[in-house]
Structures are given as C-alpha cells and as structure tokens.
C-alpha cells in the first residue's frame, strides 16, 4: 500500500435518496492505489448503492468523487470505464452460450471493412486473459467452464490496460475453497500492479485473508474505516450489526424447563455440498431454537435442508423418533413440519389467490386433493386466523397480492399454523413487520411453544432471537459452530461466537 497525499479514488459526502429511503447518507470512502479495500455491511446497508455511484450505474444526489486528485463526473457505466474504473457485478453479466471470445469483445469488436474481424477478436481475448495469467480455449462457450473461470473471464473483461480501480461485488459467493484461493492470487497480483481494489463479501474469514483496509456501512452511513490489522473480527461484526438496539428486548422466555421434554426433531450430519456443512440439531417439544449468523452464513440453508426444500446429500432426519423417508416439502408437511419462507413474494404468498385460499393451502395440501375442506370450513379457519393474527383485510376474499407486506407475512404464518404442525420453521418471521405486529407474533410464538410446538427461528435480528429462543445455534461461513442456551443467550455472547476464534 502506498499512502500518499492523493488517493486513487476519494468519495466525499456522497448521498443518495430513493423514494422513501435514504440509501446513502454523506458517505466518505478513500481508496489508495495498490490496496484491497473490503466493503462490509448487512443487507440494505448501502454497499451496492455506493458501488453503483462509483461505477456510474446510479446518479448521486450529493457529494463529489476525485480520481487521482481530480474531480470527475461519472454519469454512466461507460464513463466510469473510460476513466479506468472496472466493475464485476455480483450477478455475472456474461452470456454463457457465447464463446469466451465473444464475451470478451462484446462491447468493442475489432472491425475490418465494417465486419467483425474474428481473428483479431481472438487475439484480443487471449491478451485480456493473459493479463490474469489464464490460458484457456477462447473458442469454447463460456458456459462450458467452471463458475470460477467464468468469474475470471468477467474480471478480464472489466480490466483494460489503463484500469486504475476494480470493484468486485461478492466474487467468491459461488466458489469453493480452491477456486477462491486461485482468485485471491490474481487479486494480489493486480494489487501489486497498483490497482485500487474494492472487495465486497459476506465471508468474514476472506476479509482477513485478502484485505488491507476495511470500511463498514450501516443504514446508509459509514460506520468506520480502518486497517484490517487494527480491526479484530469482534469489532468488525459489532460495527456491522450496530449497537443502538442494545436496550435488550424483554426476554419472554423464563418458561418451564424444556430440556427433559421429548425430542421432536433430530438432524444428524445433515448437509449439502457447497451449500451447508453437515450439522446436528435437536428440537424438543415446546422449545424455540434460534439460528443466528451473518447473511450468507447458512441460516436459510439449515431451515430448507430440514424442511426438504433443499435436498440434503448427507445425514439423516428423525421426526418423533421415526426416520423421515425421502425429503420433500410434501413429505415434511404431511409429517407435521411447516415452513414460512423468508422471501414472501417469491416463495410465500400466491398473489392471485384470496386470503382464505392462501390460509388453507398448507392444510389442504396435507389432507390431499381428494379430501377437500368445505367452503364453510375454509371460511371459518380464515376468519379465525384473520382475528387471531390481526390481519388487516376488508374480507377473506381479497387477493393476497393486494395486502401490505406485513399482512402478507401474517397470512403465511396463518397458513403454517392452520396446518397444525409439530415443528414450525420460521425464516425471518418479522422482516418488514411493524413493531406492534412484531410483538403480537412473538407472543403468539411463545404461546404455541407452551402448547408443545417445537420452533426453529432463523433471524438476522439478534434481539429477536434473544427474546424468543431457549437455545441459539450459531452459524458462520456455512458451518454450525456451536450452541448457546438458557441465560447465556445474550447479544454479546452471540456476537462473540459469530466472530469466532479470531477474537
């Protein structure tokens, strides 16, 4: 790293307001030449917006950007590129069915007599890959190579001879350990050539492997910037999660001992390659178990593996002492497991169907298609749930798609409850729900546990987990790294555990 008076890139007081949201609030970011700068933050912290301002994909409302000491205006991605700022977005925007050559020369094909000169295009492609020391057949379709190679091709495309800064948005998200190591070698090489590299990731370990400095964003504000050597993981995670919510929510637990209640669900060595390392988990009747970890640590994956929405390739699952045969949502629902997904729009509600139809769907699926619930039965169940959960809808016949997000979330919860499960899995149950409804749902969860329901809650909200859980299983980098139970469940303990051995 060369600490000089003028930074490679200096962003000052950058703000961006989207309708109703202040995505960036006077953020400063300084990138030196020849450094890898990690940009960290939970979902919605403003990382993507900041990057898009830098690369011209989003126009800032306030602030200025300097490149090597000169104020620059970056209005479009093309202008950013002309200034020497290359970007590789999270969703690889290459075309897998086209050859590597075509992908690498898509925007500027060498021409001869107005026609594309493919021979020269091949040479250009090879030269671009050579910069990264990659030697592959450029005529093969990109899709025939591994994700890692595709990622490198994307980087090769972002690099020109005069590239001064490179932005990598979650480049390692779908890579395994070896592929990641290969990518890091290339990043180190680029760094040695004096590029300023912005590295966005959710993997804490990788930040310590490759970065020189780190900046943390939260709720659109810069929380801090520092040398990675001076920022232990615990401090980093505290910065990301924030402390202003410290006024720990009243613990609703203090309930009867559940440690001698019968085991309802037991997962042994359940796992899936690349997705989630094998884990063990026990759920007892009346017990609420929390799943905690940063984004991408495997919370949703654990929930989906247990429910059968992801097919495990190792391990086994027992329900009420009997092994589960086959794993599919259908089998799980019939066996008495219910699942409320995190992404209610994509995986939760059926927007065209009415509130009533959405509420009875899981129970109906459990009963089978021949054993239809009568209309009056459906209406009774829907009315009951609308009242119990306080779903704000003019009547049960309104299409769910027309309800507000929080009410849709309640409809999904109602659907799971109506099916009368023994095990209920909630993935981010209170995301996008107002405070009042939040409390109602937490209270309801506790009540159900009192009746013997076993509950698994995956949540990014530590306070919520502290409030509802009898035990918390902690995840990091797609591994279950431990459990905390009883009085030991505090924000600090969970954060310590997520930070892991490095603290």
């Amino acid at each position: 790293m060369t600490e000089t008076a003028t930074a490679r890139i200096e962003m000052r007081g950058v703000s961006k307001i989207f309708p109703g949201v202040r995505a960036l609030d006077h953020v400063d970011l300084r990138l030196e030449a020849g450094e890898v700068h990690a940009l960290m933050g939970e979902n919605g912290a403003g990382k993507s917006t900041l990057i898009k301002v830098l690369t011209g994909a989003v126009r800032r409302d306030e602030g200025e950007i300097q490149l090597d000491g000169k104020v620059v205006e970056i209005g479009t991605p093309g202008e950013a590129r002309a200034l020497g700022i290359g970007t590789v977005y999270q969703e690889v925007n290459l075309i897998p069915t086209m050859s590597v050559t075509k992908n690498l020369t898509l925007t500027r094909q060498p021409r001869k007599f107005g026609m594309v000169n493919w021979r020269e295009a091949r040479e250009v492609a090879k030269a671009r890959l050579k910069r990264l020391n990659i030697n592959i057949d450029v005529e093969r379709p990109l899709g025939s190579y591994s994700v890692a190679i595709q990622q490198l091709v994307a980087i090769a495309r972002a690099l020109d001879d005069d590239t001064r800064a490179l932005v990598l948005d979650e480049p390692t998200a779908s890579l395994d350990a070896n592929e990641t190591a290969m990518l890091f070698n290339i990043i180190r090489d680029l760094k040695a050539r004096g590029l300023a590299i912005v590295f966005i990731t959710h993997f804490i370990d990788q930040v310590y492997q490759i970065s020189d400095r780190v900046s943390v964003l939260r709720n659109g504000r810069l929380v801090g910037t520092g040398k990675i050597a001076d920022t232990p993981p615990l401090k980093l995670i505290s910065m990301m999660i924030g402390r202003e919510l410290e006024k720990t929510a009243l613990r609703l637990v203090g309930n009867a001992k559940t440690s001698d209640a019968p085991v309802v669900l037991e997962a042994e060595g359940l796992g899936k390659r690349v997705t989630m390392q094998p884990f063990n988990l026990k759920l007892r009747a009346g017990e609420a178990v929390g799943l905690s970890g940063l984004l991408g640590s495997g919370r949703t994956e654990v929930a989906k593996l247990i429910f059968g929405a992801l097919k495990p390739d190792t391990g086994r699952l027992e329900l009420g002492g009997a092994p589960m045969h086959g794993s599919s949502p259908g089998a799980s629902v019939r066996a008495g497991i219910a699942f409320c997904p995190e992404d209610r729009k994509a995986e939760g509600v059926v927007g065209e169907l009415t509130v009533r139809e959405n509420i009875v769907l899981a129970l109906q699926s459990k009963r089978g298609w021949l054993n239809r619930l009568s209309r009056s039965e459906q209406e009774r169940l829907a009315a009951e749930m609308i009242k119990a959960l306080g779903i704000a809808t003019p009547d049960a016949e309104k299409p769910v798609g027309q309800l507000s997000g929080g009410n849709q979330q309640k409809v999904i919860l109602a659907r799971s409850l109506v099916a009368g499960p023994r095990v209920l899995i909630l993935d981010e149950p209170t995301r996008g729900i107002d405070v009042g409804a939040h409390a109602e749902i937490v209270t309801l969860i506790r009540k159900l546990c009192g009746q013997g329901l076993a509950l698994l809650v995956a949540s990014s909200e530590l306070d919520e987990l502290v409030a509802v859980s009898d035990r918390v299983a902690v995840l990091r980098d797609r591994q279950m790294i431990g459990e905390i139970s009883g009085a030991d469940i505090t924000r600090d303990n969970i954060v310590h555990m997520i930070a892991g051995a490095k603290s």
Binding site: A346, E347, E352, L353, V360, A362, G368, W369, L373
Partner: protein, 349 residues
Amino acid sequence: MSQAQTTSTRSSSLGATLGAIGRHRVVWPLAALALLFIVDFIISPSFFNIRIVEGRLFGSLIDIPYRAAPTALVALGMAVVIGTKGIDLSVGSIVAIGGAVITWRIHAGDPHLLILFIALAVGLLCGLWNGFLVAALDIQPIIATLILMVSGRGIGLMINLLYGGTDPSFTSPLLQGLSTGHIGYIPTRLLVFVFIFALLWTLLRRTALGLFLESVGGNTAAAYLTGINARMVIFSAYVISGLMASSAGVILTADTHTSDPISVALNIELDAILAVVIGGASLGGGRIYLGMTILGALVIQSLTTTILTSGMPPEYNLVVKAVVVVVVLLLQSSNFRSLTLSILARRKR
C-alpha cells in the same frame, strides 16, 4: 353542509358500486355478447325466434351454442392449462388423431361404444405425452405442445393409411347420435357438453385440485413449499386438456362422419385461447374461470354467426374477429379504462 356531505357520500358510493360492476369480470364479455345479439337482431329481426322443426329446437339461439360446443370443450381444457401458467397448442392435432383413430377402428369393425372410449384414451395418451414433456422434462409448454401440434396431423394421415385410406368416411348411429342427434327437443351434443362440464367442475371445485392448479400457476415455488406436488399438478392439467380435446374430437368427427386430419379443427387452439382470455383469465396463470370460458366461446361463435348472417363475405370473418377480440380485451384492461377515463376527464375540464 351536512346535507351536502351526505349527498356527496351517496353519489360517491353509487360511483363505487358502478365501478365495482365495471370491474367485475363477467360484465364485459356479457356486454360483448349482448352487443352482438343486438347487431344480429337489427340485421335479421327473426334472430331470437325459436321454432320446432322435425321434432327439435331450431333457431340462432340454439345454433350458436350448438356450434360453440366443441370449441368450448377444448377451451375448458385450455383454461385449466392456462391456469397453471402453461399453454396447450396441440389440441387441434389431438382432435385430428382422435378422428383418424375413430374411423380406423370403425373400419376394423370394433363395437362403437368401445371406440368412444378408445377415442378418449387417445386424448388421455396425448395429454400424458404433453404432461411428461412439460412437468417431467421441464420443457417450456409452448414448445412442448408445439411438437404434437406439428406432428399430430401427420400422425392422423398415417393412421388413415392403416385401412388403405381410400374412403375415410363412416356411419355410426351411436357417435353421430351424440354429435348431431337430439333427445326430446334438445340437441344431444348440448347435453353431452353439460355432462362433461359438470364432471370437470366437480373435479376442480369439489376436490382441491382446482385450488392446487391455481396455486401452482400463481406461484409455483410457494405452492411447492406448502407441500403441493407441483409436477403432478401440472401434469394433470395437460391430461385434462387432452381428454377435453378428444371429447371435442368425437363430436367434430361424427359431425362430418369422416377423418380429415388436415383441416378438422383447424386453428381451434387459437379460438380456445381467445375464449379463455375473453373469459378474463390471464396467460400469467393463477386463475381458472370455467363458466367465463364458456361465455368466451359463445362470444367467438356469435361473432362468426353474426358475420355470416350479415351477408358479409366469409373472407372478412377472421379480420372482424380480430377487431372484436381487441375491443373486448381493451375493455377488460384496467389500464386502458383508466386511461380513457383520464382523457375524458381532461376534455371536460
């Protein structure tokens, strides 16, 4: 002051009621049908007359449902498939294959009641094939059913060759009775239609299959996570469509008592899709309106009848049909309605 308020509330609630009626899905297709009937009445004042000729009811109001019945059967199957966000282009070919098989088996001397079931089994088989391609192999419905659409009529011609193919006509009191006969004053095919409709309605609405089909069409991932076997549900939609198409095939083949794979039920898939869409369903899936689909089929047939009775050359038929369909769809589009309203409001100001 308070009086003025009451008046304004009352008028706004009246407006809301009118708005609700305008939004109700049954209104616009029904209005289109009424409009067509009025045009028919102006062209030919005897349009609404119903007489008894040779012991059966006779008149335009009987003729329209009589001719619409096969299309309506196909359209009902199509409505189910479209409800799952799919489409079945092969229905015309299924009719053609069914017709060829019927003629072939009659030439082979099978009992005609057996042939009726063989014809339905052919439709079942075609539906299983489509369902296999879409549900098991994940091929996009439009491509998957295009395969049978393209090959089906050729298969029909090949079946014709099985008995020499010289004379593809036949007589069958049973099948022709189902298609062109009458029971009492009422055409038999209308009774057949009502029977099949009742079966389908029971299958969809008295079991949970209809709800499953709609939830899979509305949001496959969500339906899957509630434990519904989405593949089986999609599979069943194509099987239903195949069966409905083959039942229409029996009526159409017996009507002409010949196997004509090249031109029988030509473009019926397009009429069926139109009927479903006029009935208010979205090609995006998620809703199945059986009754409305019949209304859609009636609108399409009335249109054809109107063009014929108006004395316009039949060449105009397709173009006029297209225009009317566009108008009905525009009326149904809430975007278009609010646009028109806002333009009108601007004029007034």
